[in-house]
Symmetry: C2
Subunit: 198 residues, 2 copies
DNA sequence: ACCTGAACACCGTTCAAGT
DNA sequence: ACCTGAACACCGTTCAAGT
């Protein structure tokens, strides 16, 4: 939950660590405001560093996304542990997929980065998502043992479906000038999917 | 099926029409090669016109996407007419949703543009998609009358779901360096969705 | 009426020069 | 070891000048 978790094995110089933390903090704000395509130049500027410093710490956009998502993902892993101890494996799976989709919807554009990086160990985002895919598989298997679901689906398919529904629910409804209603379509769409698995 | 369908009511000057057609043709190639985010400057250049000419004919990217998709969408409308006369309304709905998803997958990034522009009459892409949403609703209603499906879903939800599955199936698997296998996940994912509607 | 292409503001990324 | 910021190649968009 602290930044230590993603920090390199050797301690960083004081100024380097200060810059690292400032960049991650500012990046979270920028992603929340402009989506995952926020300008990296702008993030560096607002963090008070040159663009080169940002690239030194985070060679590509995925690295920065990963660092800014560490806390949220650790919380998800904790949730998975709790749900694996839940008596009702079917309800646990529902809860899990909703939490997963909401995590993917932390920022606009994030579902795309996540689904695109699945199983790609070159991407730090993909590597860190593999634990989430594993958890999805374990929760699904438990639900199937209890006959709460009967369909035959891979953990990767389930993960991708949750991501794609998150994507669908997050597409801003830019209707004719009117401000987008913040309707939460996610539970309804997930319900549709789960209907098919039972 | 000809370009006439999207052309303005008054005839264009000969050179303007030549440029219009060249831009649309080149745009199709560029979108196929680089996805919907292909450089507009590059398209103008390859079509032998200045960037200003491209913007005169197509004030924004959606306008160009729409023009380059005219033929494919007209073919879809014809398919809808045929499927509405099909005796097996359930199979017709399956066929329709698959065709819809494949249409959305014509180019990388297209599902995003389509779903984002739904119900937005300011976008020519959104306006032209509304006929597809209508057709989806009619085919779904017919399937429900035959009890081939029982779920209660809006035409817009169905359309969005098809688009999101297209999106999921089209995310390039950029695995560790190996070239992406061109696996076609779409039918399997759509089958999962349809299972939930029956 | 339509086209041209220079011009502007922006962005990601690199790298020589600093401390 | 780390940071800086100029520099490069690019992009979308506009608009005065042409024909």
């Amino acid at each position: 939950m602290s930044i230590e978790a993603a920090a390199p094995t050797r301690p960083m110089r004081a100024d380097a660590r200060r810059n690292y933390e400032a960049i991650v903090r500012v990046a979270g704000d920028a992603f929340a405001e402009h989506g995952t395509q926020a300008s990296l130049d702008d993030i560096a500027c607002r963090a008070g560093v040159g663009p080169g410093t940002l690239y030194r710490h985070f060679p590509n956009r995925d690295c920065l996304l990963e660092a800014a998502l560490v806390e949220s993902r650790l919380a998800l892993n904790e949730l998975a542990e709790q749900l694996l101890a839940d008596d009702d494996a079917g309800a646990a799976l529902d809860t899990w997929l909703l939490a997963l989709a909401r995590h993917a919807n932390t920022w606009d554009g994030l579902p795309d980065s996540i689904v695109q990086s699945i199983n790609n160990k070159q991407s730090p985002l993909g590597a860190s998502c593999s634990t989430l895919v594993d958890a999805t598989g374990r929760l699904f298997d438990r639900a199937r043992e209890q006959s709460a679901v009967t369909a035959d689906v891979s953990a990767r398919d389930l993960f991708v479906m949750a991501g794609s529904l998150a994507w669908a629910a997050s597409r801003p409804r830019r209707d004719t000038g009117a401000r987008a209603e913040a309707s939460d379509d996610l539970p309804r769409l997930l319900g549709l999917l789960m209907r098919g698995l039972r």
